[in-house]
Every structure is written in C-alpha cells, then in structure tokens.
Symmetry: C2
Subunit: 212 residues, 2 copies
Amino acid sequence: MNQSERDPENEQAVTPPVPRKRTGGRSARVRDAVLAATLDQVAEHGIEGLTIGDVAARAGVAETTIYRRWGTRTALVAEAVTELAAVANPAPDTGALRADLQLLAEQISQLISRPGVARLVGTTIALSVDPEVAAARHRFWNDRFERTSQVIDRAVERGELPEGTNPREVIETLSAPLYFRLLVGDEAIDDAFIARCVDNTLTLHGNCRLNH
Amino acid sequence: MNQSERDPENEQAVTPPVPRKRTGGRSARVRDAVLAATLDQVAEHGIEGLTIGDVAARAGVAETTIYRRWGTRTALVAEAVTELAAVANPAPDTGALRADLQLLAEQISQLISRPGVARLVGTTIALSVDPEVAAARHRFWNDRFERTSQVIDRAVERGELPEGTNPREVIETLSAPLYFRLLVGDEAIDDAFIARCVDNTLTLHGNCRLNH
C-alpha cells in the first residue's frame, strides 16, 4: 500500500492499456498503485482536491483505466480507504478478549494518527450530504464493523461476553472515545488512554464474573 | 441566533458605519445579526465556501464592520459556533447528576443534528492542519468542556461522583458515543441510545454505592 510497492514498469503506461481479463499480476499491481496514489493524493489535497488525472499520473496509469475500474472519484477513495483499514487492521485473534480489544484500540489509534486520515474523516462528515460520499462512508464503516465483529463473536463463544451481545455496541464503546479525541484534537491518544478504553469496554459489556 | 432575530434596520447599512464605542443596543444587534448570518452561510456552503462579503450582505452590515471586529473568517466562524453552543446549551443544574447528564446528552444530540453542524464539525477536522482552524476548534471545545465541567464539579460536591474526579473524563465518556454516531453517520441517536450513554457514564464514573 505504500509508495515503494508501486510497480516501476507502470510508470510510463500513459496510454490506455489493451483491455484484458483480470488474471493475477498486472491487474493487482495496477490496483495497488492506484489505491496507494489515491491515499497519497487525499493526504495532500483532501477528497475535494483530488482529481482522477492526478491519481493516474501519480500511479503511472491511464485515466481511462481508473474510470473503467472505479467509475468515480468517490468510489475510488472509498475503496482505497477501506482497503487501507482492512490491510492495516486484520481482526485480532489472540484467544482472549482483553488482548484482542487492546490490539483493536491500538490499530484504531494508529489508523487515525496516520497523515491524511483526519482530513479524510473530516471530509466524509463535511460532504455527507453528497449521496455518493455518504454511500462510501457507509461502506467503509460497514466493512470495519463486520470485520471487528468477529472478535466479539469469538469472545461470546468463549464465554467472555454474554450471549446475545450486540457486537456493534461493543465496538462502538471501544472506538468512540478514540475517534472523539480525533474530533476534539486537543489530546493525544497515549497508552494510558487506550488502556482505559479497553477497561471501560470490559466493565460495560463483559461478563462480571470474568472481568471484575 | 435565528434569522427572525435579525435587526431589519441594519438591512440597508451597506456603507461602513461611523466608528463608535460599543455601548449596548446597536453593537449587540450587529453582533447577533453577523453571527446568525455566519451560521446560515456555513450551513449552506461550509467554512470553505464562506466569504466575509456574503456574511456582510446577509447580515446587512458592511464588510469593514466584520473585518474590524473579527479579523478573519475563521475567527468569525469560531465565535458563531461557540456562541451557538453556549446559548443553546446552558449547563444543566437539576440538583441530580443523572438528570443533568440526561439533559447534556439531549443537548449534544440536538446540536449535532442541527443542519450544518455535521458539515462544520467535519470541516474543522478536515482543515485542522490550518493553525487558525485548529485554534478555533480548540477554543470551541475548551469552552464546551469548561461549561459542562460545572455539572461534574457540583456532582462531586453532592457526593455523587468520587473526590478527585476529572470532569473532562466524565464529559468525554458521555459525549464520545454521541459524536461517534455523527462520525459514522449510519444510526440515528434515539432516546434509548441517550439513556445508554447516561447509564454507561454513571457506571464508569459514579460512586458505586449510589449508582449501582
């Protein structure tokens, strides 16, 4: 997902490539290069300052490649960010809820301190009257909640959380204070704060006999 | 703070007014008209689409009046929003922590569902690399935390919260899930959710003997 992973052989591919089936290597490399270039452009210019042309130039692919595959700027950004979150944040599975929540909180902390992510989060809120932005935001959060819900489901199976626990509520409890700090912007997220978020989540949702 | 409160006698004041001391009526009316116009413009166009000229025209005052009093667009927006939050959200004082927290949560819910506020919150995050926007955001949140901290201080005095409670932590616990819903954008804030935010805050911060 970073710059060094871009394929140098694509740097000069400024004419539309011959249409082909997406079978493996080149297609995947183009996708990675385009998504990485998209994140870089968003970090520097925000969604509102991003153009398909700039992304194409940065990724070394033709604009038509991007339009054919993603359709719109917003769809492109949505996939880039969803991919970033998914790759950087595999759902932890340590076998213990506390350790899983700790890893999740650390992942969120790292994600939101990444250059450009604050700008991106802010922009998705600011532009959410745009149905396409709203849809992209929905896809992103849905993907996040689905992936992280596995952590909660496994904890229920192990008896660390009560039967019938709503996974999304637990993830909300853990995530909200971290994102609130991003929103307020005055206080850094340090280890003590992450520990408090984990403790509070266990206190509010955990099976008392196990977590108190 | 709303349109109907604008002073019609200012509607035609398109030439710079004669400098005068700010003594009472007219100065306060100009301020109200300008701040109301600012909020309306932000709701419609975002901070980034707001110009002092448009605000002046909407408020019926001279641009120079705004520049002299507020200096910059960002300072103007910051004062308008801080004022909105302060006027719409007086710190509750019912004599009981649970009722105060309930009112605070309802105020936050109403504030963030107000047209334009999501856009404004998003924009302050998106543009927080700009030192002036960052400073405005800091002033806004500082004002909010200071006002709401009174609620917590009074609860400590009444023995509903432990001595040494950090007011900001309690306000964070209450506010974070509400703002997180604004950020995710998928689920409305309903009465059940507000009640859960209040319960959770009491569980995490309250004196056990009183709240459990």
